[in-house]
């Protein structure tokens, strides 16, 4: 079996206990923004949690992206490098081409319940093989490789079998 073309989605969960300057900024500002943006869906503060607000008003699902705008500059400061994705050599990080912000849980009365996730989506990568608990990754224009440890936070979100000769199906036509 030859290499495959894949895209990865890497999930970073941030909550009250996550350390690091980036995580603290994302946590604090996304919580403050959630308190603002949720008001239109929760007049008189009848509901306490994000789950209750969405259950009562499904249009409150817009809170995922509206709250995400509030931390957009912090994510931009990552310079398209996914946090904590150093390869074994410690020299390289994976790059992402787009991201998505999600509220996992929150409460307007208890900031400790606030929990968010950032999903980082990579561009196309070559998946050469799986070695133990590592993905052996590469790119089309180089023989250099990157070994990424598999975890619950790493998903393959796009997959294409490549024909012999490493041409994509489109190029073969």
């Amino acid at each position: 079996m030859g290499s495959s073309m894949i895209k990865l989605a890497i999930r970073q969960v941030i909550d009250a206990h996550t350390s690091g300057a980036f995580a603290r900024q994302v946590f604090q500002d996304s919580y403050a923004e959630f308190l603002l943006q949720s008001q239109v869906y929760n007049p008189d503060e009848v509901f306490s949690t994000f789950a209750e607000i969405v259950a009562h008003q499904p249009k409150a699902n817009s809170l995922h992206y509206k709250t995400g705008f509030a931390v957009g500059l912090y994510i931009r400061s990552l310079n398209n490098l996914v946090p904590d994705t150093w390869d074994l050599s410690g020299n390289m990080q994976l790059a992402f081409e787009k991201h998505q912000f999600k509220i996992i849980a929150s409460s307007i009365r208890d900031p400790q319940q606030h929990q968010v996730a950032i999903l980082y989506y990579t561009a196309d990568l070559l998946l050469h093989r799986v070695i133990g608990e590592y993905l052996l990754l590469g790119t089309n224009n180089s023989t250099d490789t990157f070994m990424l440890k598999l975890s619950d936070q790493v998903t393959i979100c796009n997959y294409q079998e490549l024909m012999v000769g490493f041409l994509s199906p489109e190029e073969e036509k």
Binding site: Q25, V26, Q28, D29, Y31, A32, E33, L35, L36, Q39, V40, Y41, P43, Q57, K59, S62, Y65, K66, F69, A70, V71, G72, L73, Y74, I75, R76, K98, H99, Q100, P111
Partner: protein, 238 residues
């Protein structure tokens, strides 16, 4: 009693700039869905609230706190000025109010999520075009540089706006454009592919503006530079 009477009389003697004596302030939750419908209504004075946990939150990480909200989108230039006026202070300008606006691009598509329109489905999840927020200055004013919005099925041309004061949502509203300006813009080259809005032909037929147009219609005039100038007052109970 005396203070109440003085306050009442003070509110009567507001500036002589053709503002009616009794202004209805936009309320914070006319609709639970700001994307599809809300309008200003009667004034409700905000209750006393404690500060939130982050009283100094200034949106410093926001990717939409900017004046130019076009993000390279093509369209007729639109220079937006919104004045925030406080009905609890004789309609004087209110500084440091956070004003969020958002609208669709010239083809009727919003940033931030996937939406369908006359050009098919667009996944604009990663984008923030035509969204902005500003904090009002000492003149109670916020300004944005944008493009003239397009339209989408079922709604007339509009800009969404929300106003927060001291972390409290004061107003969820929409801003309407004069019918004749919409007609003129949608005849021009950039907008002619979508053309005139045949789904809702005028503001008085719109499900949001039909009963509240006088409060929500902006003043839109041809700009000295290019495009149009939009000026609108939003009254809030600050």
């Amino acid at each position: 009693m005396e203070n109440t009477r003085k306050k009442f009389l003070k509110q009567l003697f507001i500036s002589a700039t053709a503002v009616p004596v009794l202004i209805e302030a936009c309320k914070k939750s006319d609709s639970t869905d700001p994307e599809s419908g809300s309008s200003s209504g009667s004034c409700t004075v905000s209750p006393e609230e404690t500060d939130g946990p982050y009283p100094l939150y200034t949106s410093r990480g926001s990717s939409i706190q900017r004046v130019d909200i076009t993000d390279g989108k093509t369209g007729t230039p639109l220079h937006i000025t919104i004045n925030i006026l406080n009905t609890n202070n004789s309609c004087q300008p209110l500084a440091n109010a956070r004003v969020d606006i958002w609208h669709c691009d010239k083809d009727g598509y919003y940033s931030g999520y996937s939406n369908r329109g006359y050009l098919g489905t667009q996944d604009n999840t990663a984008l923030v075009f035509c969204r902005g927020l500003q904090y009002s200055d000492t003149a109670g004013q916020v300004k944005f540089t944008s493009i003239y919005p397009g339209w989408y099925e079922g709604r007339v041309t509009h800009i969404h706006a929300q106003v927060y004061v001291n972390d409290k949502l004061k107003c969820t509203t929409q801003i309407a454009f004069p019918d004749d300006v919409n007609t003129a813009v949608y005849k021009t080259t950039l907008y002619s592919a979508h053309g005139q809005n045949t789904s809702v032909t005028k503001n008085s037929a719109d499900m949001v503006f039909s009963d509240s147009l006088s409060a929500e219609l902006a003043t839109v005039t041809a700009s000295e530079t290019s495009g149009y100038d939009l000026v609108h007052d939003i009254h809030i109970a600050g």
